[in-house]
């Protein structure tokens, strides 16, 4: 006579090694292919496309120097000192600021200056003849 014995539960041992392998490969993939640069863009639109040039009467030339200074009306000012330009735009809101760069001025310095002018409220900017 066969006796029905209690079934012995057999625990299946799952090895974690393949899981770790896969996770490591995924980690390597994402580490190597991911970028953390938060891209932004600065629009440089043609003058005819961005605003009516008839609205602009006077162009004021600013020369950017590599020493973090800009030249306006034959006077040099520190890049952070925008009070002369603020006064200028207060007197002539339709004036265009034409920015040209001296030798050895980097793109970063130019972008910094453009950022300062934009935050100051300058709307009519031109990069040596290229409207921004």
């Amino acid at each position: 006579m066969l006796l029905e014995t209690a079934q012995v539960t057999k625990h299946r041992i799952i090895s974690l090694t393949p899981l770790i392998d896969v996770v490591f490969i995924l980690l390597l993939f994402f580490m190597l292919s991911s970028g953390f640069t938060h891209w932004r863009q600065m629009n440089i639109t043609a003058a005819s496309d961005s605003y009516n040039l008839d609205e602009i009467r006077v162009q004021y030339t600013l020369l950017l120097h590599p020493t973090d200074e800009y030249e306006f009306n034959n006077k040099r000012y520190r890049m952070g000192n925008l009070s002369p330009l603020k006064q200028l735009l207060k007197d002539d809101p339709r004036g265009m600021l034409v920015i040209s760069a001296a030798e050895h001025v980097s793109t970063q310095q130019l972008v910094d200056f453009l950022d300062n002018l934009t935050s100051m409220g300058a709307q009519h900017l031109s990069l040596s003849g290229l409207a921004l």
């Binding site: 090895s15 980690l27 994402f30 863009q41 950017l64 760069a101 793109t107 970063q108 130019l110």
Partner: protein
């Protein structure tokens, strides 16, 4: 009272010491998956200028890379500086709406500003009206 030795359970402790490792690796994996953006490697390595411009980057019809030493690549194809205008003209010739053709210029932060202006003039000469300069979010200085 005599304490008898208890019988040890035959449990598997082999993987127990790797569980913290798996936890850390999983967390790193989640971090890279969530925080990073999948990017393709570019023909020319550039470090873009930092800016406080809030405008997020959008898709453009063409991307022009300009390295600090003036090397250029248009849509992953290296090209000479004097070939930029004709190549761009060819590119916009096949575009249905030339006025809406947008170009993204990715330059290195150390590129001389005059070189950038020259590039933009060439782009303008090709008839492209909508140009954007790629920047990256300004990192807070800890000085």
């Amino acid at each position: 009272m005599m304490i008898l030795p208890t019988e040890e359970k035959p449990t598997n402790h082999l993987d127990d010491n790797v569980i913290p490792l798996i936890n850390v690796v999983f967390l790193m994996l989640i971090f890279f998956m969530m925080a990073g953006q999948l990017t393709t490697s570019e023909q020319i390595a550039i470090q873009p200028p930092q800016s406080s411009q809030p405008t997020p980057m959008v898709e453009h019809e063409a991307v022009l890379l300009v390295s600090a030493d003036g090397r250029m690549a248009l849509d992953e194809t290296l090209l000479e500086a004097d070939m930029l205008t004709p190549v761009l003209q060819q590119k916009i010739a096949g575009h249905p709406e030339k006025q809406r053709f947008t170009l993204l210029v990715k330059t290195d932060a150390m590129l001389p500003a005059n070189a950038l202006t020259d590039v933009l003039k060439q782009v303008r000469a090709a008839g492209i009206l909508k140009v954007s300069l790629a920047t990256q979010t300004r990192q807070a200085s800890h000085d």
